[in-house]
Amino acid sequence: MMPVSPFRIFFQTGAWMVTAFLVLPLLVVIPVSLTDTSYIGLPKEHLSLQHYANYFASPDWLKATWTSIWIGTIVATCATVLGTSFAIGCWFLSDRASAIARWVLITPILVPPVVQSLGFYRFWVKLGLIDTSTGVILAHTLLALPYVSISVFAALANLDRNIPRAARSLGASVRQTVMAVIVPAARPGMLTGFVFAFIVSFDEIVGVLFITVRRVTTLPKQIWEGIQDNIDPTIASVATLLVILTLIVTAIGALRRS
């Protein structure tokens, strides 16, 4: 075996330290969620599930969770349909105009959240969409579109342009070619896009703070208000549930790949 150089030691230890910095802070919510106190802190005398019980007994928390789930699902569906169609059209065109269209579609990634939320607020007031789920769905669909279009476009990057050409020359219409040839090739990108879109909506906070008042409350808004008003450990139990869910999904994804 080669002697291990200081160079290598530096990079390997360093990398593990940075990885610990990334992951460990996510785990601190776990002990805090099990605290027997009524404030944020480590368990004093024994572990307690009272804050989980609190979450599952609270109509406010459950309703916010459910709102986030169904809004996220509708947003992901709309964004995937619109974004896939957009990316496929641009892939066929591949000209200057379609490149500009693709830049237009990714502006929500670059515009600061507060600025776009001000825009939404003023416009939604005119449209009467303030504090409605339709308003939230529309805003979130717009914010999710860039991610769907980017991932579908990436999936199509390796598709041979002669394949749709062959389909067309054999008499398939544009519609048939898209449905039978392009969509199957785009499917992995659509799936990634769907997941991204759901998460964009599920995690979005700044827009929701501006365009909703009382009637519509999503999970992030409930968490935000919880942090602002009085930090109680229920937030830690919600955070723990979300972190564990993420861990499980990531682990399943990693296992399926290997």
């Binding site: 990334l22 269209a101 959240p113 825009g119 416009f123 992030p220 990531t250």
Partner: protein
Amino acid sequence: MPRLGEKTQYWLLVLPALAIMIAFYIVPVLGIWQISVTEPASGFGNFAKAAQSNAVKTSFVLTFRVAAVTTVGCVLLGYIVAYAISNYAGRLTPLMLALVILPFWVSVLIRSFSWIVLLGRSGLVNDSLRGAGLIDSPLRLMHNEFGVLVAMIHVMLPFAILPMLTNMRGIPDAYVKAARGLGASEWTAFRQVYFPQTLPGVMSGALLVFVLSLGFYVTPALLGGGRVLMISEYITYQIQEFLAWGLGSALSVILLIATALVLLIAARFVNLRNALLERK
């Protein structure tokens, strides 16, 4: 069928998404420009007010400083991780990759909350230090720039790592091997042969982190506790507390222009197409 008809059909696929994006996103954002020169009175009064205000100046300086420090921190820390993942094939490398991507899927709100739990007055860090008898009174770890920076670096780090990883994976190891074979030390081969090839990845990571940090709201607002007013929070404050829509919009326009300028300058060093449009 005529050629034009075919092209029109492709545009019909593009149009629905493009149309809603323009009607419900681009138009509202442009509306902010309009508000900035019409409320409360027509003209550039809001911009003059913004230019004269010391609070605005302080906030912009703070915003650029926080964004710059966050970017440097993320690139340095991220480079080490990206390098180790791409160059040391070990049994644990896939695990490290999974752990690096994991925080990406946990919302910024939850990650900021974790830092509040850690850094608060009676947070876990202060509690443990006091328990160990190292300090008598709690340290001020958040509601200041330090807390904001630590949490910002944590939140932004994956955005720096991923472009660098994509870039490093595309670098063939033949060059470094050749340099080593010709007698270069490990460090020299890294510095003169490997590092220059990673610059595109470093640049796109840095750009992404810097642009996102400039407009960041959630983490500075939660960890800053009203004492670290970055420009996004300053705008919200103007509008929610003083209903100063004109000034808030003018500041938004300035922030948008600043972001655009950063992108324009970056376009000289970074392939924006690869960094933004075609990122994996």
